[in-house]
Symmetry: C2
Subunit: 561 residues, 2 copies
């Protein structure tokens, strides 16, 4: 069964291996939610499946379930009413640990095959997962489908691909034969190499991207032999629960212990992350969320390999452009998309106080600010259209930050609450643009997660670049951007991001945005600045999740020829 | 110049890449100290070069040198009398950090080429290095030549090879082209990927293997773009100093800043390791030595990636054999070699209290003990022969441990002091075998570094295996061994080492020893138990020493066809 899955998906895997090296465009999971791709009734069926989950117990037959827990509320204004098994760690973790030997013995192709089959089934369930992502994260439907479905699956496949490449670079057996000079027989040793896992893995998810940020760690650990406990954010459990359900189904079919993937749900009032993270059985942790908790994990969960993606402050430098309209519309889309609730959205826009050259025109600082504001207004003017881009505000904390932000500078464009027909109680806000200057580091030097943006007047572009470099080194960042028509300026920015360790997008004016990355081509985070200690995905993300144990013995003498 | 070196050594590198995957026997650096390989006068010249170093200042023109330091004494009974530049860290580290941009810009092939040229020149200087290793570590000449010369160079090459493979898996440029459906032009992005280093790297060496344990970290960091500060053990500075001298010579020839490799010498009385390890510039640390200091580094040098090889307790299980003579002589050699001053030497021999089956014969516990003791006596009976195997005792601490060990159980074979003509003041000791039982964990449950061995009576082999598994998990180990004619017992042991995470050697009776490993085939340490958090060498050892920073911009439209 096990290797049947591997054979079934071998071509996809081999193509994925090839793409990690060429890094061109490739995606095996189609991002268009089209009936032609996913089936005529896929969307309706997916929505129905999602709705059938509401106001019920989500049963998962895993050991140590004692009662139920769950309190998710949709940013679109209703309670999900779903309860998940509440786990007793003293019963769950020994059962998960007991699954290790069998999972190791499944071998590289066995485990990889099962991971690929899980991904493939997740893909078929993309609509159901999309609705569950939408109604927990607040993402608009299209984004919930793409980022929560195929793009997350791509990132999961990418992690499996790196794990496969790293594990399969060591042979299972080798004959070592050392010549001993004339007349003496060679020394001959038979060697066996075993890939062994670290132990139990834990993935702690976030509320804004409950699948996209969970799949890389989940599949990297799983493929390398570590059974995984999935601990979703208490506000976005459902997408993870469906994922776990599908994974367990595939594991069972393959004759494996389903406890190789388990769900650990909790609430904001009674969080369990710290308890589980410090358990001695837990040897690998993947975490996405606040810097505070990420730092706590790195400092305290010392028994585990800890991979973190934390907060950062992303910036764009505006120096000059030959396409002010393209720039403004690109940035307006960037800041509107999911109301800035992405770890990749730029918060700071550094603009020379004396303005910029835009083609033949000179634009003042305020002209640039107005161009971006106009773009945002255009995109968010009609609530019934705008909410498909903005989505809802995921957390009450973000709402409060928007409210507080008004006092931080001159409001160029205020954030507005939008009402829509489909979800009358939805919490939807447009972006807020605030004008300030480079001296106000207390204003723009912190991450203010949500649709809060600063247009920051600097002395000149040199200062802008210097500030971005400093800020990345101090606070971390996942992305950066620059607009300039001057190659020398672009080079200076490139030197700065190389030094600070952050990815750069230059002069984006078309259908690619600084806050979007593509699996197999773009690395997500560098692991080289405080925003993240790992990158999605590269060899370093997988190579230390397993170890190699070898055994050797004298080989039988060579057969006489 | 730079790529000239890469081209010069390309074939060797490509063969090395191939061998990491097949893991058969291969060594580009010849281990036989033969005039045919190294030149008619190589040994004499090497010895003369070593002697010319004695009682002098070892000048290295590196920034921040203020005075001199050094107090090495040969275990063969004389002071080296060499003084090395004493470094002011506040001047040295900024100069090293300043070398980063240029070293990064040398590129993957540039850096790898320089590393390969350094290794190749080290190889040519193997005799000089051998004498310097011998007269600091106390290793006998043959071992000092092999382990300190070609085998260390092999391990250095192995690290460069993994670094090359990991760095070159990401292309320098990629074109990303995403179809946008009929009638729409594709989205096209040009992407550039930069390999960036972590920062300044530090390698803290040990006294027993001053090159072998230094080269993997040195070359892994160097190849990946991190300039390296080499901080040798105060008792074994000379081999590192010669290495640094050669590296700087090659760097200069290639037009690179020589401060990419620097020496930081100190004394036992005024150690500098803690100071330098906590410096913010230091982002990568490789360390070999005591568990206490290794743990301190892991807990405190949190600004750096820390790779440690610490202490462990290695064990051999004796269950049965069909070749008692082969087993005894193999183990006698193993325990005599360098008087057990290897992190790979087994300290504990677990033997059933009722004895073992050896071919047709049943041997009592004492028979087995006597067979090993007899082997050791045979090998160490003649001092003028024995010292070429035993070498000298590196540290006064080891001498004291031997003295104290007598009280730990029944002495089956006492340690003897040997006198030799060549070095009348040499400190040479034969192995001590002590009989004890499995209840005395306080006796055998700690590492007692040096020629101190325990023959431990257990209830049966099941208990022996269980104890080894426990001991590896608790105290760590680099190696393990078993003798058994029963495949079921071998399987049980294999399961135990897989669980505990330690390499296993089965039924060694010929010219391969449990404490020896071969580069490109055997992994040294697993990184899966407390003895080491890394393995020499694998992808995990190199992949996190660098990061990838990408930049992207719209590609020019496709040329019309």
């Amino acid at each position: 069964m096990t290797n049947e899955f591997f054979e079934r998906h071998r071509d996809m895997l081999m193509k994925a291996v090839e793409m990690t090296a060429s890094r061109g465009y490739w995606s095996p999971f189609k991002e268009v939610p089209s009936p032609k791709v996913y089936g005529e009734t896929a969307q309706k069926d997916g929505e129905a499946a999602f709705k059938a989950r509401l106001n019920k117990k989500f049963e998962i037959d895993q050991p140590g379930a004692e009662g139920f827990v769950g309190a998710e509320r949709s940013p679109y204004g209703f309670d999900l009413g779903i309860e998940y098994p509440k786990m007793n760690l003293d019963k769950l973790l020994p059962a998960v640990e007991a699954a290790i030997p069998g999972w190791r013995k499944a071998g590289v192709e066995g485990r990889v095959g099962i991971c690929l089959e899980i991904l493939s089934r997740l893909n078929k369930r993309s609509f159901e997962i999309a609705f569950s992502v939408m109604q927990t994260s607040g993402q608009a439907f299209m984004m919930a489908f793409q980022a929560g479905g195929p793009h997350a699956q791509d990132r999961g496949l990418e992690a499996v691909t790196y794990a496969y490449m790293e594990m399969s670079r060591t042979p299972e057996h080798a004959l070592w034969e050392k010549p001993q000079g004339r007349d003496k027989p060679s020394l001959r040793m038979d060697k066996t190499f075993h890939i062994i896992p670290r132990g139990v893995a834990l993935v702690i998810g976030c509320a804004t991207f409950p699948t996209w940020n969970t799949y890389p760690g989940l599949f990297a650990s799983l493929a390398t032999g570590n059974p995984v406990v999935v601990k979703p954010h208490p506000r976005a459990i459902l997408p993870a629960a469906i994922t776990v359900e599908i994974a367990r189904e595939v594991l069972k079919e393959a004759g494996q212990d389903p406890n190789i993937v388990t769900l650990l749900a909790d609430t904001l009032e009674a969080p369990v992350s710290k308890d589980v993270a410090l358990r001695p059985e837990v040897k690998v942790i993947d975490y996405t969320g606040s810097t505070q908790f990420g730092d706590w994990l790195e400092d305290n969960a010392r028994q585990a390999q800890v991979y973190t993606e934390k907060a950062g402050v992303n910036s764009v430098v505006i120096d000059s452009t030959d396409n002010i309209k393209g720039m403004s519309m690109n940035l307006a889309f960037t800041v509107s998309l999911y109301s800035g609730q992405m770890c990749t959205t730029p918060q700071n826009f550094f603009i020379p106080k004396d303005g910029i050259q835009a083609g033949d025109e000179h634009l003042s600082f305020d002209d640039v600010a107005a161009a971006i504001a106009k773009g945002v207004e255009k995109m968010t003017g009609d609530p019934e259209k705008a909410w498909h881009l903005l989505g809802g505000i995921q957390s009450p904390d973000t709402l409060k930050r928007i409210e507080d932000a008004k006092a931080l500078g001159d409001v160029v464009l205020d954030s507005k609450a939008l009402k829509i027909e489909a979800f009358p109680d939805a919490v939807i806000r447009t972006p807020m643009l605030i004008k300030t200057d480079s001296s106000k580091r207390d204003v723009w030097g912190e991450e203010r997660f949500g649709p809060i943006y600063f247009l920051i007047a600097t002395e000149n572009t040199d200062e802008s670049i210097r500030i971005v470099e400093d800020l990345v080194e101090e606070k971390g960042a996942i992305t950066s951007g620059i607009y300039s028509t001057d190659e020398a300026v672009l080079d200076k920015m490139e030197d700065a991001v190389i030094k600070a360790g952050v990815a750069l997008s230059c002069n984006l004016t078309g259908g690619v945005y600084v806050n979007q990355t593509a699996a197999f081509s773009d690395y997500h985070a560098t692991g080289a600045n405080p925003a993240a200690n790992a990158s999605l995905s590269d060899a370093a993300f997988v190579a230390n999740r397993f170890r190699v144990v070898q055994s050797r013995r004298h080989a039988l003498p060579e057969a006489a020829e």
